[in-house]
């Protein structure tokens, strides 16, 4: 039997030369070993499936590393001149598809633009280049008593620039909102090669301090675009008061090396100064929800979240530990944790803790403290720092991330809805791994996104073994099933599995905002008239929509019909 070859595309020689002229020969490559490195993102089930199928469409033709906004602009203009598709790339931690076109694609990797350019104590802002990450910003800001207000549950290595084009969900959204609420300005090289600056920074000679441009807010067109509107080369984020000291504490046992990573003692750093994390377990889901509602209404704390199966991932140093803890229900299935900071004074911590204790005394629940379940408390220690600067979340990627069922809205409704649709999906398709049951046998992940707990995000994820394509496909079906179910019930557009993308959901589920996809497509056309940027990723262009594989469309239509929706006729 002939072995199938996977042959990536190449750029036309004149394009390569034009690009090389911009950055110099040392910052551009089409070496097979190099381009392969950019062919699958770190948590990318679609990309992994392509690897299994030896499909070369995820392999960029060429990688280029610009050093400045001006170089990015010049590259984008070359791409427009020659109609070459391109994809912005930070550190490959995006949760869904890379280049999904058989055409030769240029990958623009912004890793050389990696500085925190400025911390402005007066306007409480940080200006960060495209490859600047949360850890950098926090390290610099904390030295002057400020911080950015949170990190994603992924890791602190996520880049603020790319997150600004999505949402940036943090554990401390309860107080600070998502990253998207914390953007003062972005500098965007639009897909057409123009420069767009947003916020007060858009006005010549004005300080960078206010998030709205003059009149209508254009940043709102970039937020959620997932990179399809262009490449964010600089982002200015808000900073907030940080009472936790100039540096975060270290674990008493120090950091692990490769030989000792499995030893839990390296994950036992204490809380930062003037911070406290309260863990509570509940007997059942209803009690948990009641407590979350009451604590939310009390308008205290910086973070208010619940976590089910995820503790087993985050807090276990090996995969065997994860499995053992899930099977033996080591962690409380119904719980919440409250992140408390003393910005006003130490007494704020005492006051807010008193309120949490009052509420738990009223509704029921047990604090994980003292001698009670000390082994569980010890295992939960990674959260002590991760609630502020999240690091260990990537342990989840021992298996492949395959998508999520994420809903937004009031806590009772999102929590219950997630359980309902997720249970139905698992019952229909079966699980890919025992942890897929997270959210149906225990609490789904719940994050308060509003300081009085008015609206929340919930999450149930699929993490199949990435070496088994049939499980990856099943995982995708699980996520799609959950989404279609939610949409059929008119629950809300928060249903956005397949990472944080909504395609093919937007185009194939027009019920999510009856005409949203048409407006978004118009917006994408406005930024990218040649349809070149981040192909196939977010809000299909007309051509991408028509080229969407018939087999996949049929699968979605089958799910639609299963949930009482008419099939989409293209």
């Amino acid at each position: 039997m002939e072995k199938k070859k996977c042959v990536p595309n190449r750029l036309p020689p004149e394009v390569y030369t034009a690009l090389e002229d911009i950055v110099g020969s040392e910052w551009i490559s089409e070496d097979r070993a190099v381009v392969e490195c950019y062919s699958k993102f770190s948590v990318d089930s679609g990309g992994t499936l392509k690897k299994h199928a030896k499909d070369p469409s995820n392999i960029p033709a060429c990688i280029i590393l610009p050093g400045s906004t001006e170089e990015v602009q010049a590259i984008v203009r070359v791409c427009n001149r020659y109609k070459i598709k391109f994809i912005p790339f930070t550190n490959g931690m995006i949760t869904f598809n890379g280049p999904t076109t058989p055409e030769p694609t240029l990958c623009i990797h912004v890793s050389r633009m990696n500085k925190v350019l400025d911390i402005d104590e007066d306007t409480m802002t940080a200006r960060v280049q495209a490859y600047g990450d949360y850890a950098q910003v926090q390290a610099d800001a904390m030295k002057v008593g400020l911080w950015n207000g949170g990190t994603p549950l992924a890791t602190t290595l996520c880049k603020l620039s790319s997150q600004s084009a999505f949402a940036g969900v943090w554990q401390t959204d309860h107080k600070y909102g998502t990253l998207s609420r914390n953007i003062v300005s972005i500098k965007l090289v639009t897909a057409a090669g123009d420069i767009l600056v947003t916020g007060s920074d858009s006005v010549s000679g004005m300080d960078t301090f206010w998030e709205y441009g003059p009149g209508p807010d254009l940043f709102s067109l970039v937020r959620g675009s997932g990179g399809t509107t262009g490449i964010v080369t600089e982002v200015v984020v808000k900073l907030h008061a940080w009472p936790g000291g100039e540096e975060l504490p270290e674990p008493p046992a120090g950091r692990p090396c490769i030989q000792t990573y499995m030893d839990a003692k390296h994950d036992t750093a204490p809380f930062p100064k003037r911070y406290k994390l309260l863990w509570v377990e509940f007997e059942d889901f209803e009690t948990e929800l009641k407590a979350l509602r009451e604590i939310g209404h009390a308008a205290i704390g910086q973070g208010l979240n619940a976590t089910g199966v995820y503790n087993a991932y985050y807090c276990s140093q090996t995969q065997d530990m994860t499995l053992d803890r899930v099977e033996n229900k080591f962690f409380p299935p119904y719980n919440c944790y409250v992140i408390i900071g003393g910005v006003v004074s130490e007494k704020q911590i005492e006051h807010e803790e008193n309120i949490v204790r009052d509420i738990i005394a009223e509704v029921g629940g047990t604090f994980l403290e003292g001698d009670y379940k000390s082994d569980v408390q010890y295992a939960l220690a990674p959260w002590n720092l991760d609630c502020i600067r999240h690091v260990t979340g990537y342990r989840m990627n021992r298996h492949a991330y395959c998508g999520s069922n994420i809903l937004g809205g009031p806590v009772d409704t999102v929590a219950r809805k997630t359980r309902q649709v997720w249970s139905k999906a698992i019952d229909t398709f079966g699980e890919t791994y025992v942890t897929d049951r997270g959210g149906m046998d225990d609490t789904p992940f719940l994050y308060s996104s509003n300081h009085s707990g008015r609206y929340w995000l919930t999450e149930a994820d699929v993490y199949p073994d990435m070496t088994k394509p049939e499980l990856l496909q099943k995982g995708q079906a699980l996520v799609a099933c959950g989404i279609v179910n939610t949409i059929a019930d008119k629950f809300g557009p928060g249903a956005n599995g397949l990472g944080v993308s909504i395609e093919p959901i937007t185009s194939f589920m027009p019920e999510v905002g009856p005409n949203a996809h048409m407006l978004f497509r118009g917006i994408r056309d406005m930024f990218d008239p040649n349809g070149l940027c981040a192909p196939g990723r977010q809000i299909f262009t007309k051509e991408e929509y028509e080229a969407f594989p018939e087999e996949a469309a049929a699968g979605l239509n089958k799910l639609r019909q299963m949930h009482g929706l008419d099939p989409i006729q293209r």
């Binding site: 409480m124 301090f209 907030h240 009031p410 300081h451 956005n496 118009g522």
Partner: protein, 491 residues
Amino acid sequence: MAVQKSDIEKIVGQGNVLDDEATLAAYSKDQSFVSARRPDLVAYVENGEQVQAIILKANETKTPVIPYSSGMNLHGATIPDQGGIMLDMSRMNKIISIDEENWYVIVEPGVTYQQLQDNLTEKGLRIMVPFGTPPQRSVLTSYLERDPVMAAPSFEHGNYLIMDTELVLPNGEIFRTGNWASGGDPGAPSGPIRNTLFRMFTAAQGTLGIMIKMVLQVEPIQKHQQLFFIPCNTLEEATGAVKAMQLREIGTECLILNSFNLAAMCADGWNIPEQFPAEASTSADFEAMRKELPPWVITVCINGNIRRAEEKIAYESEALKEVCDSVNLPLLENLPNVPGADIMMKNELLRPWSILKKFNYKGSVNDLTFKAPLKKAAELEKRLQELAGKHGYSTGDIGMFLLPLERGRAVHCEFDLHSPAECGDARHAVKALWLEASADLLNNGAYFDRPYGAWADMIYARAANYTQMLRKLKADTDPNNILNPGKLCFT
């Protein structure tokens, strides 16, 4: 205009379209310096379907449509630069629902602050209200135009209160943002692809769509509050103290008033006007008080919230005392020479309308409303004082109000120049000062993020790329340029 009165009558019914001289004249102007211009007719709509139908008819006939809710913008946003249909939505005044469990309300554009606050108060809830916004102003429009609420110093409570929205796009389609987008229940601001697309329509003066429903956060009325007053001699002193207290996240509401504005609020001889411009009158009480009051007063309100209120008020008060001690300023529970100032200010937190008495002074208030970094406020104040002197305008007649935003990241400033409402030399002189001051302050860091009237040309001339993209957006979404043409950079 190609559209006929009868076309619109078919949509909204006879008697609901007016084109008599008196009506058109009333809609042709407000108290601002923006030049008057009459609409061709005024249509009173009662629901979203009528709005849609009028938009479709306007597209057919290329007729401008000017969305109008309460007429209380006071900055010329609803003056029809190119004539057309004045779309009066004041009859769409339903409070559609009040969610007491999740603390939000759904309102139509005709719902006023007075109406909503009265309804909410009965249920123990409150809407956050901008300081000095008329009680007759549309809540929806006010939020849409980014009027900063009194709680805006607090990051959590102040600057992100819009949740879901429903609007009619320039092509007549209904568009929903937030959780509402899929046709189910509202409940969160993020919509498809995690966008917060409602922001695109903010401060747009109705040029990109007509919002017909809005979901807004509300909060329980505070049962325990502690007010403090901090008198200061200079604005620099005041902003320094505010910066220090905001960095420690003390208090929720916080504002700085100069003696002119504080005296206007407290003046016994004046009432809150119902019309703007108001009829000018004198008040001996005001004149006496503005001489006696400290030049600047910071007002801070510490809210107890719903649990352990006394405990919270105690530790925040203690922290505030530490801040005041560190900057050598007194911390007072009441204002000397103003008996009952604490009670008055507590009332203002729910109904902050006493400041509107300032319209009694000359009739018309021509504000310079902008945002700036907190540290620049004092410098901008000095510049305005100098310019006023140059123009022969009494510096003591400038009313000033400053609202720190997001814990001191920025400050919202309203510097008022008073003039008679009637055209004449006195009004022209103030207009000349207002124009020069607008340009000068802009040149020195005052950011007019809501570009009404003459500010639009000034600021868009400095934001070429932003302007170009806005124009593309307008051309794509409103190809016939029917929605409030001539506003912003959409000439």
